[in-house]
Symmetry: none
Subunit: 412 residues, 2 copies
């Protein structure tokens, strides 16, 4: 059975607010085995709401609406739902009591407008909301179960768990969905897809798809089955085969990031890392320290933007800078060695490059980056020439990921 999600709110449709409710609901539904076919976002407009709800109820078994249940005149969801089923709005005494008592508890006077929230179309069910003033609504429309929830994320999530999960499981009867997402770094999307195209045939179960996001290629494996064990088994089998096929470019799954994997591995190995950054200007250190617990492997970093700083803080010889230029393999190596020694760490990563938009030359164009990695056994330097369609921020981001990936590969 499929679901359609409708987000209502002028602030959402105008782009003033990013809608996170729809993604959250779709994820939870997917975990419960309900497949979301469509999200729709519309403003607080009665006619648009009526049209969207009518269409959704014709095409899906479950319609989840968020927003438009507030106390003000521009909240139109109740009115629109009453119109769709051709019933008048009426006050629910129990809900009036709940709203009055909430305001009493907060010690605040209640505006009469708040009683709008106690209204429901005749013959439908109000859904209790202990987390706020707006109750939800449950209304059968045609063959569809339509549920309206408040738009405030915290209230919406709690209401979903209390009032919708049971109904969602009923809708899921017959097929359960299970999903895994594999994260990779080091190859482009088409190369990755080319290596796993045997799994990507349309109509296959599990469904396998790729997605590129700023250098990270993700492989999503979504399986359906009559029950959770069966669905999970087919997803796990594909995941194992795909991971085997892709090898070392796989760095993790789900919420894993390059930095979280690096921090976890360093701590497991009891090793430490230091960073020396020129063109990334602090981004590698910032990525590592965004991982909770990173103090277990990271103590200090150097942002060495000027040549003087490279000499003062890392001991890079001035004549080396003079001879090869700051953006060069010898300087990247000297930075990494200097950082490793001065910070007293097991691994040191250093970057120097030209992030643009200016500062490039025919010999050293914008996007040229050297990454040095000094470890207990060796020091090596990787050269990258990022594509010229990347802007300054993207070059810095890709360089950060490449440096973290080098650290990942030496801490396997």
């Amino acid at each position: 059975m499929d679901a359609v999600i409708i987000s209502i709110g002028s602030e959402v449709v105008s782009g003033a607010v990013v809608d996170t409710n729809a993604a959250w609901l779709a994820s939870r539904l997917s975990e419960l085995g309900v497949f979301t076919t469509r999200h729709v976002t519309i403003g607080d407009d009665r006619d648009l709401i009526c049209a969207a709800v009518g269409q959704a109820a014709r095409e899906a078994g479950l319609v989840l609406i968020t927003g438009g249940l507030g106390p003000t005149q521009d909240d139109m969801t109740r009115e629109a739902l009453a119109e769709v089923i051709g019933q008048p709005l009426e006050c629910d005494d129990h809900a009036v009591e709940h709203i009055r008592s909430l305001f009493h508890k907060m010690g605040r006077p209640m505006a009469e407008a708040n009683l709008r929230q106690a209204q429901k179309p005749r013959g439908t069910d109000l859904l209790e909301n202990p987390w706020g003033t707006a109750p939800g609504l449950r209304i059968p429309i045609g063959g569809a179960r339509v549920v309206a929830l408040p738009g405030v994320p915290r209230e919406m999530r709690n209401m979903f768990e209390r009032h919708v999960t049971g109904a969602a499981r009923e809708h899921a009867v017959g097929s359960t969905v299970c999903t895994r997402v594999i994260r990779t770094y080091g190859e482009g999307e088409s190369a990755v897809a080319g290596r796993i195209d045997a799994w990507m045939t349309p109509g296959r179960n599990p469904a396998v798809g790729t997605q590129a996001s700023e250098g990270v290629i993700s492989i999503r494996i979504m399986g359906r089955g009559p029950d959770e064990v069966t669905a999970r088994r087919c997803v796990d089998a594909d995941a194992a085969a795909i991971r085997g096929r892709l090898g070392e470019i796989v760095y993790g799954e789900g919420l894993d990031t390059l930095e979280s994997v690096v921090v976890r591995r360093l701590i497991e190995r009891g090793e430490t890392v230091g960073v020396a950054e020129s063109c990334t200007g602090g981004l590698i250190a910032a990525a590592l320290t965004n991982v909770p617990g990173s103090s277990g492997c990271f103590g200090q970093g150097y942002v060495v933007y000027s040549n003087q700083a490279k000499t003062d803080l890392l001991g890079v010889p001035a004549d080396l800078l003079e001879r090869h230029g700051a953006v060069s393999a010898p300087v990247a190596e000297a930075m990494a060695r200097g950082c490793r020694q001065r910070a007293g760490v097991d691994h040191a990563v250093a970057v120097t490059g030209i992030a643009g938009p200016t500062g490039g030359s025919p010999e050293k164009p914008v996007g040229l980056v050297y990454i040095g990695l000094a470890g207990p056994d060796e020091c090596r330097v990787e050269r990258h020439q990022w594509s010229d369609h990347l802007d300054r921020a993207a070059i810095r981001d890709r360089t950060t990921k490449a440096a973290l990936n080098l650290l990942r590969l030496v801490t396997r």
Copy 2:
């Protein structure tokens, strides 16, 4: 004239990824005077795409599609658009050339699958994409102008600015729209709105609205007039009055960021800055160095995550750390003074705090941050206690902005 936005991607409809493209597009369209009535999100499914595009083209003058233009089999947007207009797909030689040359430049082999991206429905226009391999498409369907853009946010945004803004302005014809967006930092949205409510009356021209995004409150002033001069004049008058009313919390307009303003001012004054970061772990340095030309005022920074690093790199006395703890006003001040002296800069900013999720205590809860600022004349320390609804990343982001804002205020 109205617009409908269609986001395509199984990872979006399933909730694996939050769609930020739709909100960004709706915001930009609104700045250009085009009203978005609806967003729709669907998976990579040819039938669903056809149905959604057909419906949107019947109800709106401008239909913007993002996603589904990648090189892999599950990218169905090209096929679906060809089906909607009943034309076959054909290869565009110019696009083939562009894709081949991109791979050549990157020094990577091109999979044949990439040439799928050079296809377009016969008789339609490909839109050049210098920022990636997927060109966009422009197709008239009925009376509507339909534009398909890649789903990668950076590419989508650049493509929108190059290929869509002109068309969007045409859709806004009849009344010219002029917009200015004032950026502020330092007060909450309701406080800012309260100070300028005289300009925020519904139905007024220009329309004035506020928007909060990660600590920055923006005031959008959108004026309509029979021609550009008239529209601009009324917007400029309101902007001047509102800037006067809000005073020093205004840091810029449009694309200005706190860091771009700080870098510009420092360079104008011929002054330099250094940073010493504990809980922000490099974010302040990364923000400053993301501004092109920042080498004119920034040479080096210290990421001092451990106590040892604070002592080694900045000379913070060990007994000061012992006595007050790393997260304290005296340590923030000592870090700032040490940074200013060792880096030999005019201004030094230092932060120390508890970003969580662990590490807090009743006396020093998560979200407690001290920011030290040492300048030519004085050294001062600001204490922040961020709200407990902020997570680790948000605490680090707000602390970075607060530090940059301090620098902004002393370089006026």
